[in-house]
């Protein structure tokens, strides 16, 4: 299990750096980046963290994490 604080910091940071895009595009950018560079275990942990309430995730990061669940068949 990844450290939740680290996961939150990382995904929030990614979200902050693509937040200039329109919402849907930004979400797509985040999920694409997570799928390309994060190992499966961290993506699974992120989705589980969202299931646990997703405390401290920015709205954009939370939306992307949700999208991971929808679009990523593997977790």
């Amino acid at each position: 299990m990844s450290d939740p604080a680290t996961l939150v910091r990382m995904v929030n940071q990614i979200a902050a750096n693509v937040a200039h895009h329109p919402h849907d595009q930004a979400v797509a950018e985040i999920t694409k980046h997570l799928r390309a560079t994060w190992p499966l275990s961290m993506r699974v942990d992120l989705v589980a963290y969202v299931d646990g309430g997703g405390l401290d995730l920015t709205p954009l990061a939370a939306d992307a994490a949700e999208q991971l669940r929808v679009g990523d068949a593997k977790p």
Binding site: S2, H20, R35, A36, T37, P39, L40, S41
Partner: protein, 950 residues
């Protein structure tokens, strides 16, 4: 191979365009055609005619002082010096005649009358017409050539034979008695190195080479690059190893293992012992130049700290137990398999090293992907240039610098961002300074006043002394000026770049928040200065960007790389010589280790592990199904180790317990592992947490290739058998085999053949071809059989260039009342990375400990005096260093290096990292500095480290 003597044509080649005028001359009846401006001496050498010379060598401009290279030219009076006489059309030259012989004998006799007779035996210098000092003083060689057997004047007259030697430099001596005041050393320091540390002091008979203002070499501004020693035609300047060991008698051509310049060297040997390393003129990266590290600091390879036997231990609290290779491999494999059996296939992984060869890295990542069965492989490039890979891939389509080093000779404006080449990449810095002295303009973007801002005959047009962490705001301001002042190269953009991404970027970058006036609040740099610098860059015929870790090691490192790419594309500064985006890579094989598939999401050639087609290529060759999921990055591995899901690790030639940020966290992670295997030359800081130690090989023992920052693949040839008994790739193969995945190669060339067979950009590379042509710059394939010095000519690798919007997102690491200063870290000329190599050489005489540089006002506010011990306190840790008050630091910013484990620079750096790649933010750590009664942990004296000054 016998001693390799590279030809010396006496004077430099005249750079000539393809259609440049040529002239034909006749030298001793031999017809030769040369570019206009070529000296008679060079034309003669090209015709195979050697003209005696002492003050001339082809790395230096002609000087015309020794009066030995005299020739006769039909229709001209006298006997002009051939080095300073340019060839004229149909010139008829005689290089030998009774009159010339008489003149040369007379001059030589005068030189010899004030020259030690034993220079013949104590000296080590080359014969006339050849570069490569092999035991003969050139002066004595010429004496033999001109038939001089006696000196009529005797040796009793006034002379310099009792002059005192300067032996202050740890690596070479200066013997004024053997000096003929030819100025080759002075000119080498000026023209090649660009330090201007030497001069000829005095006049007439009193003329004498002098370091700085009559100081010793060690106390002077000399940077010990060795150019003067190499240029000296006598034994006046001689390597101490040559004096100690005698002249070399054979050469092995190889590649330096220090920075990303990747200099070619002649390892000159006497039997099996290295006598000296001499930079090779044929080396594409360095063309005969060197720095203090590559030239002299190779003694670590035989240092007594080398661990040559495999060792194991059950627990990190146990003593090491030397074992056989078989036992060590079997032990490591059984424990790795046991971990996987209990915790899953993804519970182990490894890290490759940028100090290892392409072949060694390729084999380790193959071992992890095929034998371990997962993609948990990462590399130390994670902590330096991973943002370069990401940023250039997104914009241009491939993860590499765009130019060769020689390209800088065509640059009119050089934009240097977050790099300090005179310390980090000194041989390239010399090349850059040569161009700057010829008139190119320099813009430096750096919080510190680095040496290039103002040094002899070099002065930056602009020094944009920005706040650390604000690069993106700066590059956006540049882009804003380009777009809003009509400086976009519309034709280039229309032809070479995507319409839609450019249009979007153009709208973004023109927004008021990106103007220099707005970003001034962020960067602290006056808007007018930024506008002037941006105009200079955008309007130059050729403008080139060079950058280093001051760009990448930020939370916005990847954004900054893309911002620079945007800027280059918008101004059309890409795809030809003299322009481009040029990352100055930290370690010798950063480029190569990344190329070889060291990242957890990419197979060799930067192809994603999720790409079925690519994976199938490797699955066929490797006969193993590969994981399609990205693996863990280094910081992920560390976190997972603490969490308990990652339990076994193989670390190849990297010392993460010293080099990586937040060392306390790193050590906690390492201590959590069930099994840590370290392969290294030394028992480094990381090895303290290891259960298996596998000895590694130094670059003098390796057989493979390095790829430098200009994508140049160079051969690394062994000068001796591996001291530990095995090549490193053999060890990885044996470990993989013991894990149940048979891996075997007979020789390194077979590994390169496999790389070429699976990686399109390396398709045309082989050891045989490298041996034939010297070096190759990838891509090297059917489309570019001779390699690719300049990338993106006529089109980008990805097709059209892609612009990316780059909003400035500030780091979360903020200064506060408690932590009001920003610490940045970097390196210094004489030391390298974690210092594992250079700390074990006499380079410690220049830099014996890490020092904290602090602005005078910041020091005064805190009651800190120069040399005082100070505590550096960050949010994650604290350490103690000695302070140096330095006005090159801006107020509010402090700086240190991380070469010594005892200094603990990375105890204070944090976990913040680049948003896209997790490259650590070494360049921004909020700290407080305070005087302390505690002393820094002292380093051992060189003698205590087993080094005897030579």
């Amino acid at each position: 191979m016998t001693l390799l003597r590279e030809p010396d044509y006496g004077t430099p080649a005249r750079p000539a365009a393809v259609d440049a005028e040529r002239v034909t001359v006749h030298v001793d009846g031999i017809r030769v055609s040369v570019p206009a401006g070529t000296s008679v001496m060079r034309a003669a050498a090209l015709a195979g005619v050697d003209i005696p010379k002492l003050c001339a060598t082809d790395s230096l401009e002609p000087f015309g002082s020794c009066r030995l290279c005299l020739v006769e030219i039909e229709g001209r009076k006298g006997a002009p010096a051939s080095c300073t006489t340019p060839c004229g059309p149909d010139m008829v030259v005689a290089t030998h005649s009774p009159r010339l012989a008489r003149l040369r004998r007379g001059v030589t006799e005068l030189y010899l009358s004030d020259h030690p007779q034993d220079c013949l035996t104590s000296g080590v210098h080359g014969v006339d017409g050849e570069d490569g000092k092999d035991g003969e003083c050139e002066l004595h060689g010429i004496a033999a050539t001109v038939g001089l057997t006696d000196v009529r004047y005797g040796f009793e007259g006034k002379n310099h034979l009792d002059a005192v030697k300067d032996e202050s430099n740890p690596y070479f001596t200066f013997d004024p008695a053997a000096c003929i005041a030819c100025s080759r050393c002075v000119r080498a320091c000026d023209e090649v190195q660009g330090t201007f540390a030497l001069t000829i002091a005095g006049r007439g008979f009193g003329s004498m080479v002098s370091a700085s203002a009559g100081e010793s070499f060690m106390a002077s501004e000399c940077v010990s690059c060795g150019a003067c020693v190499q240029a000296c035609p006598t034994s006046a300047l001689t390597e101490k190893t040559v004096i100690e060991l005698g002249p070399p008698n054979r050469t092995v051509l190889t590649t330096c293992a220090y920075c990303g310049v990747g200099c070619s060297f002649k390892a000159e040997m006497r039997g099996d012992e290295v006598v000296r390393m001499v930079p090779a003129k044929s080396g594409g990266a360095n063309e005969g130049h060197s720095c203090v590290k590559g030239r002299f600091a190779w003694g670590y390879a035989s240092h007594r700290d080398r661990q040559l036997s495999p060792m194991v231990r059950e627990s990190i609290n146990d003593e090491w137990r030397p074992v056989s290779w078989d036992e060590a491999i079997a032990y490591a494999a059984s424990r790795l398999k046991a971990i996987q059996a209990e915790h899953g296939v993804r519970s182990i992984g490894g890290i490759t090293s940028s100090r290892c060869t392409n072949e060694e890295v390729f084999v380790v990542q193959k071992m992890i992907r095929a034998a371990f069965g997962n993609n948990n492989v990462d590399t130390c490039a994670r902590v330096c240039h991973s943002p370069t890979g990401y940023g250039l891939s997104q914009t241009f389509g491939t993860s590499a610098g765009t130019q060769d080093f020689k390209s800088v000779e065509q640059a009119d404006v050089i934009l240097l961002i977050g790099a300090n080449p005179t310390d980090g990449h000194p041989v390239f810095a010399s090349r850059m300074k040569q161009r700057l002295r010829k008139g190119a303009a320099l813009v430096v973007v750096d919080p510190r006043r680095i040496d290039l801002v103002r040094s002899p005959h070099v002065e930056a047009a602009h020094h944009l002394q920005l706040q650390p962490g604000t690069n993106v705001a700066m590059v956006n301001a540049f882009g804003h000026v380009v777009v809003t002042e009509g400086l976009v190269d519309r034709d280039f953009v229309a032809q070479r770049c995507e319409d839609d991404s450019f249009a979007q970027w153009e709208e973004f970058i023109a927004r008021p928040e990106n103007s220099p006036e707005a970003t001034e609040q962020i960067t602290g740099v006056p808007a007018e200065q930024v506008r002037a610098a941006a105009r200079l860059y955008a309007t130059a015929p050729n403008a080139a960007i060079y950058y280093g870790l001051g760009v990448t090691e930020h939370s916005q490192g990847s954004t900054m790389v893309m911002g620079m790419a945007n800027l280059a594309m918008a101004t059309g500064n890409i795809g030809r010589e003299g322009v481009g985006i040029n990352p100055l890579r930290g370690q010798n094989n950063v480029q190569g280790s990344c190329d070889m598939g060291s990242f957890p999401h990419e197979l060799p050639g930067y192809r994603h592990v999720g790409d079925d087609t690519v994976r199938e290529v490797f699955e066929q060759v490797w006969a193993r199904t590969l994981d399609a999921e990205p693996g863990l990055r280094i910081p992920n591995m560390l976190d997972a180790a603490i969490a308990g899901s990652y339990r076994g690790m193989f670390i190849q030639g990297e010392d993460i317990a010293q080099s990586d940020p937040n060392v306390k966290h790193v050590k906690a992670a390492l201590a959590s592992l069930e099994l840590l295997i370290v392969q290294d030359l030394f028992l480094n800081e990381t090895a303290a947490f290891a259960h298996v130690f596998l000895p590694g090989t130094s670059f003098l023992e390796k057989d493979g290739t390095f790829t430098n920052a200009e994508r140049r693949i160079n051969r690394v040839r062994p000068v001796m058998e591996p001291r530990c008994g095995k090549q490193e790739w053999q060890v990885a193969c044996e470990l993989a085999t013991a894990m149940g995945y048979p891996m075997h190669y007979d020789r390194g060339s077979q590994i390169m053949d496999e790389i070429a067979a699976t990686t399109p950009t390396f398709a045309g590379v082989s050891f045989a071809k490298l041996d034939e042509v010297g070096s190759l710059q990838w891509p090297c394939n059917d489309s570019a059989p001779d390699g690719t010095p300049t990338m993106h000519v006529g089109g980008f690798v990805r097709g059209k260039g892609h612009f990316v919007d780059t909003p400035f997102v500030a780091t979360d690491e903020r200064t506060s009342r408690k932590f009001p200063l920003i610490l940045t870290t970097g390196r210094i000329l004489s030391q390298y990375n974690v210092g594992a190599q250079t700390r074990r050489t006499l380079n410690v005489q220049w830099h014996g400990e890490d020092i904290l540089e602090i602005h005078p006002h910041d020091a005064e506010e805190r009651g800190i005096v120069d040399g005082a011990a100070v505590a550096i306190i960050s949010r994650v840790g604290q350490t103690v260093l000695r302070a140096k008050i330095a006005d090159r630091m801006p107020q509010g910013v402090v700086y240190t290096t991380f070469h010594y484990p005892s200094s603990g620079a990375n105890i204070v750096t944090t976990d913040y990292s680049d948003w896209a790649t997790n490259c650590p933010e070494y360049k921004v750590t909020a700290v407080q500095i305070a005087p302390t009664s505690q002393e820094p942990v002292s380093e051992q004296a060189p003698q205590e480290l087993g080094m005897v000054p030579r």
